[in-house]
């Protein structure tokens, strides 16, 4: 089952209908609950299972090292989490950001929690490089750079090792 970025339903006018949104927010049929832990899915590949999340390499590597950190268990908003889980999730996100920085040397790491298409709490770890325009609106769907399988595996291994070595 797909997680992001392809919407499962067509957008209502303008947000999802209340019925759709309530269903999307529930854990029943949540695509990230279903595929967030898989070694591979349509959108990303597993780098590491962390204490509170699954760290995944996004399939679109237009921004080298673009990762997604998906909360273990279902929740939709940060303020639904208890202190332990909230802290643990962000400790995991920071570890991924540190690994991306170590390996790819971006100028900045953006950490973006949205989830308009799949409201299962996740954070886009989205690096910015010297070749990027700092004043441009950040669009996580921009560009399309798909790595060959070996390149992807190499990148996953590097990130895995960096995270585990922290």
């Amino acid at each position: 089952m797909p997680s992001e970025p392809r919407p499962l339903r067509s957008a209502s006018v303008p947000w999802w209908s209340n019925a759709e949104w309530q269903q999307m927010k529930s854990d029943e049929g949540c695509p990230m609950c279903a595929d967030g832990s898989l070694v591979t899915n349509e959108h990303s590949d597993l780098i590491a299972e962390l204490p509170f999340s699954f760290a995944r390499l996004h399939r679109n590597q237009a921004q080298a090292g673009y990762c997604v950190v998906i909360l273990k268990g279902h929740a939709t908003e940060l303020h639904e989490l208890d202190h332990t889980r909230l802290a643990g999730f962000w400790y995991d996100v920071a570890a991924v950001g540190r690994a991306v920085t170590e390996i790819f040397q971006p100028v900045k790491i953006d950490s973006l929690v949205m989830g308009h298409r799949c409201p299962h709490l996740h954070c886009h770890v989205y690096p910015q490089y010297a070749s990027d325009d700092p004043l441009k609106v950040v669009d996580i769907s921009a560009g399309s750079l798909r790595l060959r399988s070996e390149q992807r595996q190499d990148r996953i291994s590097q990130l895995h090792q960096s995270i585990q070595g922290q």
Copy 2:
């Protein structure tokens, strides 16, 4: 001194020059160190001083309840923070998100850490409403809705009370 969103310098091609960026990342002359704690500045107004941050109401209320949570002390990346400060910062952000949800009833809270114009760690608490298009790229500079002073004070008071009551 201004913090966001007006850049202090013109963008180089394409990111800030290395010299500019290193200077911007340092705490010397950092505009958010200077004005993040003020009752009012050019871009926002203080809602509450929290344990690890300053919660502020953004001047542009095109998204009702748009807040910025600014880390106390200077740092540029999440992975620079120790566990206590990282956890505390996100506990503060979650408290602001909870207050915005309680008062304005958005359909979703986005929590966005970027800082391309001012790399002092801060999080945009950016609510989405039923009137918003969930598939549109999020642009925190979109729209322009400036409240009259009394309306702004009312909103600040409501948020302050909600946060303090948690």
